[in-house]
Amino acid sequence: MDKAIFFDNAATTRTDPEVLESMKEWQGDNFGSPATLYAFGSQAKQAIEQARQQLADLIGADQKDIFFTSGATESNNWAIKGVAEALAEKGRHIITDQAEHHSILMPCRYLEKKGWEITYLPVDAYGLVNPSDVEQAIREDTVLVSIVHANHEIGTIQPIEEIASITREKGVYLHVNAAQSVGHIPVDVTALSCDLLSLSGHKFYGPKGVGALYIRRGVRIDPLLHGGGQEKKRRAGTHNVPGIVGLGKAAVMARKNLDAEIERLSALRDHIIEQLEKNMDDIRLNGHRTHRLPNNVNISIEGIEGESIMLSLSYPTAENARPVFISTGSACVSGTLEPSHILLALGLPAELAHGSVRFSLSRHDTREDADYALKALFEVADRLRSMSPVYKRGAKQCATGKSGEGCDCEAAS
């Protein structure tokens, strides 16, 4: 098989070889636990404290405010449930938005069942939350606002500073899920002025199964995991030493490469968008054109369905020997019958959400890779459109054969 093109880096990234190397020692001979008092464990203790400092430096935090977790899902669950529990006496209202990741929405739904009230703010056609909506939604009993920094699917970057100035004035905690932004764009907890921030190692060339929650000093939050006294009694469980060391190393590398990578990937992203718009009819860009992650491209292709695009691109053929891995917001891959809730929150009709594809780039990808993937996509889209019974038939005509508003299809949707 020719070298694959992996354009699904918003899902996960390749662990950097240097990161992998840094972890080896702690996976092998030096297996002591940082919680023990003898010297063997104290080396591990030093290693995780160094990683804590490295990670703190990447996000402009005090190292004392960094708490290691198993990843962004745990950090998001902890932030939401932990603050909800700690402040239950003050109030039981939380604000988030409709385009959040499931690791935010599902803890919120869980709390709803337990008697909390959740406001899910709408987003605009680009996926942006309006800060004045946040302001209007805050009530006496609001204890937390949770807004993502950059959306994993459409790459839209939220106006966190503006939202933070509102939550700060109102005395409500702000949690930011920064899983997609840390290591990709500048993330500084002081500039963002947030109270809690989630991040994940494998989203920026670190290892899987490790992440962190930043908790500003003085923020009241209950533990999610109870047990031993690790992480200042706030997160029990023996430390994932190799993972934490790898996370620290990934933070150092991200910090070093950040500015150059932003410039390079933004240019590559814009090249891809330009080529798509130049060479394909009847597509639309999802997300914001400029308030956007440097590595994200998301488009909807009319008349075809995302899984079939994804599947075609992933299978090498004689003409396209390099498999291309991308993702889609189609229902076919969500495990439900619904297409991506994020694309629907933008106001996209279901058929365009089914026809969405996401390219998410990495530090390994070149313009040559992008051009190869684009050419493959053009061919696949042409082929699938030639098979489609609905493409170019007229948007309003539906499966029943009737035309215009009010047909059975629209009633059924």
Partner: protein
């Protein structure tokens, strides 16, 4: 997640397109659900399916089942073709992932609808 047979029919679909001057047309699904199948048939004097083609919007399973159903129906009498079940289509493809059985295995419904269409046209004559 797909069998080799599914991938083969997805990558090299049989009988893709539209029969010219079809005797029956069947369309099922809708774009909001992500699947639309259109089956066109040509029926000979003995009420056998002389030719059958499909056009499909949908996932890998939707395209593969469409392709497979046209292969299974070709040359069969209308009565035989009507008896092709979703299960039979899936089995001929070496099985489908469970979540695909319901939403993307509409091809036999499309074929039945095309036969119904043929019959209703014939009644009028």
């Amino acid at each position: 997640m797909y069998t080799e047979q599914v991938m083969d029919h997805f990558q090299n679909p049989r009988n893709m397109g539209e029969v010219e001057k079809p005797d029956g047309v069947g369309e099922v699904g809708n774009p909001q659900c992500g699947d639309v199948m259109r089956i066109t048939i040509k029926v000979d004097d003995d009420e056998r399916i002389e030719d059958v083609k499909f056009k499909t919007l949908g996932c890998g399973a939707a395209i593969a089942t469409s392709s497979m159903v046209t292969e299974m129906a070709k040359g069969k009498t209308l009565q035989e073709a009507e008896e092709i079940t979703k299960k039979a289509v899936a089995e001929a493809l070496g099985g489908l992932p469970p979540q695909k059985m319901h939403c993307s295995n509409l091809a036999s419904d499309g074929l039945k609808k095309a036969i119904e269409d043929y019959r209703s046209r014939h009644k009028d004559k």
